[in-house]
Amino acid sequence: MLNVSKIRQQFPILHQEVNGYPLVYLDNGATTQKPKVVIDAIQRYYEMQNSNIHRGVHYLSQLATDEYEASRETVRKHLNADHLHEIIFTKGNTEAINLVANGFRALLASTDEVLVSAMEHHSNIVPWQMACESSGASLKVIPMNSKGELDMKAYESLLSNNTKVVAVNHISNALGTINPVKEIIQLAHQASAAVLVDGAQSGPHSHIDVKDLDADFYCISGHKIYGPTGIGALYGKEEWLNKLPPYQGGGEMIATVSFKETTYATLPHKFEAGTPNIAGGIALKTAIDWLNDIGLDNVMAYENELLEYATQELAKIEGMRFIGTASNKAAVISFLVGDIHPYDMGMILDKLGIAVRTGHHCAQPVMDEFCIPGTIRASFAVYNTKEEVDRLVEGVKKAQQMLS
């Protein structure tokens, strides 16, 4: 079992007042807070290890390189990838998707199709739109039902020999839906299409096993998994990563350079041009280790408890409308109350020291689908408590009273 108060003690940021109230941080879908060990790892890097990696022969450079590469191994293990060189460090989840989508520009023909789901956030839509625009391929959308679940029948009928890529999220940031990615991948592979899974939201909430899923690409974000911002990782199957052209040119990604011709480095360096976020990479290891120490099973069980409790308590509020009621859901609750605009609700909750996200969550098509301007979203992390859920419920009631 989790000792939540012990976990909370490890997060310095949680112990402050906002607008005169103890902070209730429920915007974990946007970014999670960082435990002290992660903050310390960043500080330790700059105080004791700072040096450029893969280049120097000197002590510090070797030290930093070793730590950075140890982090790659941690990510590999965490995702259960076969090879270390299948893990590419990126500046985040968005860059990981862009790396893949950009590579596909060269591989897509004008008769080809790319499928994305109706519940993607902009990061998993726009890069594909751009890839389609420059290659002439078409972008098709897998629809969802009113509960916010993908329409798998429609998905099957959209798949064809023309489908080259399917890009879906593992967990929807706006709705909390956990998608059946294993099934999605199996079906795509029957049509010989590659699948990119956007794992921005799944990282902190669930086990990821790229081998079991048979994912061709899987992206994770460091800052959503209790790690620093500016670091993320892309898993890609070796054969696919070898097929994709380099994303950016520069140092590190080359084998030889002359003015006549440049040859590229082998994986993973082919995709890692320039000096990376070394501190972030190193601290990402600390974050993943920290999470695994608590145990993902414990985290998932506890977050589910919070989800159930919050759903049950919020449902008691008159006019409460949940957006996204999938049967398989992560600890994300998107809602509206009566006719109250999400922005108004968010403003008042903020004044009560409660941080939620309001708006379209960078997933405008999802909001269009439900014909709403946006939602209020409470997304939970392992350090949240039932008392905080109570504060949210009280806050929503207070705001409702003021706004109606």
Binding site: N19, H341, P342, Y343, D344, G346, M347, I348, D350, K351, T358, G359, H360, P373, G374, M402, L403
Partner: protein, 140 residues
């Protein structure tokens, strides 16, 4: 008619009566509710100022040498702030609007409303009001 500066001072005095944020917010909400709605005909895509969070419609008209604004928003807090801006600028001379400073929003304790991410079109709203005034001014 009172000058822009005088109106802003009135608003500051009005908000000074409230001690608590909650009362200030309630006042803003009331103002939002009482804002005369923009005519439907003017609630067009062209008049829409898009923010990340809520939508704002703004229409400007020139009557004699004065600029008259009407506005609306789908969020009531935003609407309340707009009501203050309309009260400040509507019926004023174009040149005065162009030259006016809008720090009063900050002074009434709603600074967060001005920050770019929370602005919700508010900064763009002031900018748009000034642009209309500038356009009218250059017609003279």
């Amino acid at each position: 008619m009172a000058s822009i500066k005088e109106i802003q001072q009135d608003i500051i005095d009005e908000f000074d009566m409230f001690d608590e944020w909650m009362e200030k917010y309630e006042h803003i909400i009331d103002l939002g509710k009482s804002l005369p709605l923009i005519e439907d005909a003017h609630k067009t895509e062209d008049n829409l100022i898009k923010g990340c969070q809520s939508r704002v419609w703004l229409h400007a008209n020139k009557e004699d040498d004065k600029v008259v604004y009407t506005a609306d928003s789908d969020a009531i807090m935003t609407k309340g702030i707009i009501a203050l801006l309309v009260r400040t600028f509507s019926g004023q001379k174009a040149q005065d609007i162009v030259e006016a400073d809008t720090d009063f929003i900050n002074q009434i304790g709603l600074k967060e409303q001005l920050s770019p991410t929370r602005a919700n079109g508010l900064v763009s709203m002031v900018k748009q009001m000034k642009l209309y005034a500038l356009a009218f001014q250059s017609q003279n």
